[in-house]
């Protein structure tokens, strides 16, 4: 183990981790918004849009992120839409994550009895109020375990970004191995940095699940 090497390249990894976190957080935020929107559309069974959502979900879940990124990065410029690698990464992650988030929220919506909605409406709530104060909070708390699993999955998926030459953790590790042949050190640093990012997320998830569960569920 060459500690000097590790010490020397630590700043590179830190920078790469910054990029991984930045693209991951932004992409996942969009994924959550897309997922929630899709789940609500499916809940209300809005005609036409609902079919579009179903097609999107199948398309997104059944193609690898790598392929999706290639399409965005190499395909879009061919039809005249110029994109940079970071935007592609975020869009790709949001496209993939949106469907996973949609599915986790859908399971939450489906777990709620229809009479909860009737109960809210009989109190004079309109559709929006019923969704906002009664259905959504329950659906989201039921979805939390699946939701947290998705966040971890999507953060790990960012490792594919290296394929479109984004200098994320994976790219940095591969680059350094190619340049200096210090495979062990490079890979150990890679693992450590992914763990540093993901372990807190995972621990927060466990804590959050418990909190939500005890705050009114578990009957």
């Amino acid at each position: 183990m060459n500690w000097e090497y590790i010490h020397k390249f630590l700043p590179l990894y830190e920078k790469a981790a910054g990029l991984t976190i930045k693209l991951g957080v932004i992409g996942i935020l969009f994924a959550i918004i897309i997922g929630l929107a899709c789940a609500v559309i499916q809940y209300y069974k809005i005609p036409v849009i609902r079919t579009i959502v179903a097609i999107y979900i199948e398309l997104s879940r059944n193609t690898p992120l790598l392929v999706q990124l290639f399409f965005l990065y190499y395909g879009l410029p061919k039809v005249g839409i110029s994109t940079n690698a970071e935007t592609c990464g975020i869009v790709g992650l949001a496209f993939l994550g949106g469907s996973y988030m949609a599915e986790s929220f859908r399971s939450g919506f489906e777990a709620i009895d229809q009479i909860q909605e009737e109960s809210a409406m009989s109190l004079g709530m309109n559709t929006y109020q019923t969704m906002r104060y009664v259905i959504l909070p329950q659906a989201v708390s039921i979805s939390v375990p699946a939701f947290v699993a998705n966040i971890i999955f999507l953060l790990k998926e960012t490792s594919v970004f290296s394929a479109i030459s984004l200098m994320d953790l994976m790219f940095t590790a591969k680059d350094l191995i190619g340049l200096y042949y210090k495979t062990t050190e490079s890979l150990i640093l890679l693992v450590v940095f992914y763990l540093l990012i993901l372990l807190p997320v995972s621990m927060f998830g466990t804590w959050f699940e418990r909190r939500v569960r005890y705050a009114g569920f578990g009957t």
């Binding site: 009479i115 909860q116 009737e118 109960s119 809210a120 409406m121 009989s122 109190l123 004079g124 709530m125 309109n126 109020q129 104060y133 009664v134 909070p137 329950q138 708390s141 705050a215 009114g216 569920f217 578990g218 009957t219």
Partner: protein, 247 residues
């Protein structure tokens, strides 16, 4: 001057080709307590759900005072504010505490002052013996307690009329009483109520008028004495006999 709060005229409800309610006519005056009895599947719960436009109807009209109640109507939410409904399985919101359950609609829908509604809610909770449960979650309450909270939640909207849909049917026997006592108290306060129940002695005690519904039709109606003690039709007699035990 007796004012009709609720008027149902020639109501017909079909579901998948079956007639659930057929030419139902009913009017409820202010302060009147109407109890609906009848065998399972006769349409009594459906009638209550129609009154709240939770069901589509095929023909007829339902009016609350002067306003027509229709599924899909623009002012439906506004009308529903005036109709308090209590369900068989309480349907409290499990993610909210008792007090949050009660305050939600008055504050968000009626835009009333939270402090003012809270005071009213606490007073009502005290009257039903649940003041110390205000901060509890529904899952921490018994069935009877949940049902009393559901009644308070409906009352806090200051409704013109209260609908009770077999509110004691899902309760353990020893909890039935505590809920019925609350309803008797409401009747004494001259609240306008329509109650669907299988508790015949309770019907006798609380009702101004009893309706017997069978096969989607109102078969017979009258004062509790008339209908429950001296039923006229064979079908009513037959039904009431189910509740009698002889050695």
């Amino acid at each position: 001057m007796e004012e009709n709060i609720l008027t149902v005229e020639h109501l017909r409800k079909e579901y998948e080709g079956n007639v659930i309610l057929d030419d139902v006519n009913l009017s409820v005056k202010r302060g009147e307590v109407v109890v609906i009895i009848g065998p399972s599947g006769c349409g009594k719960s459906t009638l209550l759900r129609c009154i709240n436009a939770l069901e589509n109807i095929q023909s007829g009209t339902i009016r609350l005072q002067d306003e027509v109640i229709e599924a899909g109507a623009k002012n439906l939410a506004k009308i529903r504010e005036k109709i308090g409904m209590v369900f068989q399985n309480y349907e409290l919101f499990p993610h909210l505490t008792v007090i949050e359950n009660i305050l939600l609609a008055p504050v968000k829908v009626q835009k009333r002052e939270k402090k003012e509604v809270r005071e009213e809610a606490v007073k009502l909770l005290e009257r039903v013996g649940l003041k110390d449960k205000a901060e509890s979650y529904p899952r921490q309450l018994s069935g009877g307690q949940k049902q009393r909270v559901a009644i308070v939640r409906a009352l806090c909207m200051n409704p013109e009329i209260l609908l009770f849909d077999e509110v004691t049917a899902a309760l353990d026997p020893e909890m039935v009483r505590e809920v019925l006592d609350v309803m008797l108290e409401l009747a004494r306060q001259k609240r306008t109520m329509v109650i669907v129940t299988h508790e015949m002695q309770f019907a006798q005690a609380v009702a101004d008028r009893v309706l017997f519904i069978d096969e989607g039709k109102i078969m017979e109606q009258g004062t509790p004495e008339e209908l429950l003690q001296h039923p006229k039709t064979e079908r009513t007699k037959q039904f009431l006999n189910i509740f009698h035990y002889e050695k």
